[in-house]
Symmetry: C2
Subunit: 241 residues, 2 copies
């Protein structure tokens, strides 16, 4: 249970037991923040990389007219920045959605670990590519999909990502987002977000209640939302349980 990051990396890379020990060491110290609190604020200089151990976080940006766009979601096991990054001022904020436990990882430490092990280095690059691929899918979602398609596609993505770290059981998982979060992620108003979720429910595809989301028909959901899953590069195929 402890190390979601290890579980995630196993989906796309081969880790030696030393690699896994090194990763566990990197996450030795932990911090906690309550829900709705920023972990890193825009313009702030960070001296460490956040590794999410528990809870959900997001990166977002607020426009001068007050509109908010969530750029990416971070789940347990996610590194919130590229692993090789130098400290710098961040161009957007990182915020806890639920109460979050994370490790502040020293960039030096991870750089040394990556230098000393080729397999670990490859695993970290694979993870970085996966984050980039997720953001690219997000672009396609926002640019060329309808509200219902966006919603279905995001649910498929979250299902796949949570599955990689063992957080899906019986096609059901914890989804601690309000409809406002979903709307700000998918570029919709909360009103229309609500109606899009109803559409998916009326089609018998998903139900979402009391912070839990259940997928009733993954195949149709994927077809409706043009979700491919190949971009996960996890040895070729989408993980299903």
């Amino acid at each position: 249970m402890t190390h979601r990051l290890v579980a995630k990396l196993r989906n796309g890379a081969h880790l030696t037991s030393e690699d896994e020990r090194a990763l566990v060491m990197l996450a030795a110290t932990t911090r906690s923040v309550p829900a709705h609190r920023d972990i890193l604020s825009e313009g702030e200089e960070a001296h460490w990389l956040p590794l999410i151990l528990d809870g959900w976080a997001c990166r977002y940006k607020i426009l001068e007219n007050g509109k908010r766009q969530i750029i990416s979601l971070f789940l347990p096991g996610d590194l919130c920045e590229p692993f090789g990054v130098l400290p710098r001022s961040s161009d957007c904020s990182l915020s806890a959605i639920t109460p979050v436990t994370f490790s502040p990882v020293a960039p030096k430490a991870i750089a040394v670990a990556a230098r000393d092990s080729q397999s670990l280095r490859e695993a970290l690059w694979w993870d970085l590519l996966l984050s980039c691929a997720n953001e690219r899918e997000h672009i396609v979602r926002l640019g060329r999909k309808t509200a219902a398609e966006r919603t279905g596609h995001l649910i498929c993505e979250l299902y796949t990502r949570l599955n990689m770290v063992g957080l899906v059981h019986d096609m059901e998982f914890e989804l601690p987002l309000t409809q406002m979060h979903l709307a700000d992620m998918l570029g919709l108003s909360t009103v229309h977000m609500n109606r899009s979720l109803q559409d998916l429910r009326r089609l018998g595809l998903v139900t979402f209640h009391a912070r839990r989301l259940r997928i009733h028909n993954l195949k149709d959901l994927r077809e409706l939302s043009f979700f491919d899953g190949a971009y996960f590069h996890n040895n070729g195929e989408l993980l299903v349980v």
Copy 2:
């Protein structure tokens, strides 16, 4: 003139003359593709990283319903993939918009160069962060901006990026995109793309004719489109000529 990549990296990092020589060496061999030809197709396995020397390219994805979304644009001096990447199957296509000259860079070679020079490594990471930041801005653009705002914001971004590599003169630059390219980039129909450009022209902000774009009022254009430019991390400020 020859090495746009060097010019670009100088905006955010410090290169030694050895670093610059190493970069020039990496780009020793070149290839050319005509306009509208794929450089890398979806699913194909690449054994090298494309470095654009001349011309414009883009990464795009086509949905099953035929809609196309352009995910990112690549200008002279741009590396089209993260520099530390292992060969893998690409999840989207890379296509030449104009005739393109590029260097197929061996991942090994760039890894060795990055390992041997800290300053070069930092420069390459800075470049990677910049690409990621551009994609994040693209997400905000598509999710929370109107058609005219998107258009203005993209123009500001292209102005800044081209300026970094010396391709802007007198607030004017070559923009070899059709309105269909712009529409597929900005998630709009070609008809509405056309009207949005007219809006900007009517406001006296830009003119776009015969593949050349001229900015008449950068300040107002930036305000209209909420373009900040801080995400370029180029020593703090937007470069103006």
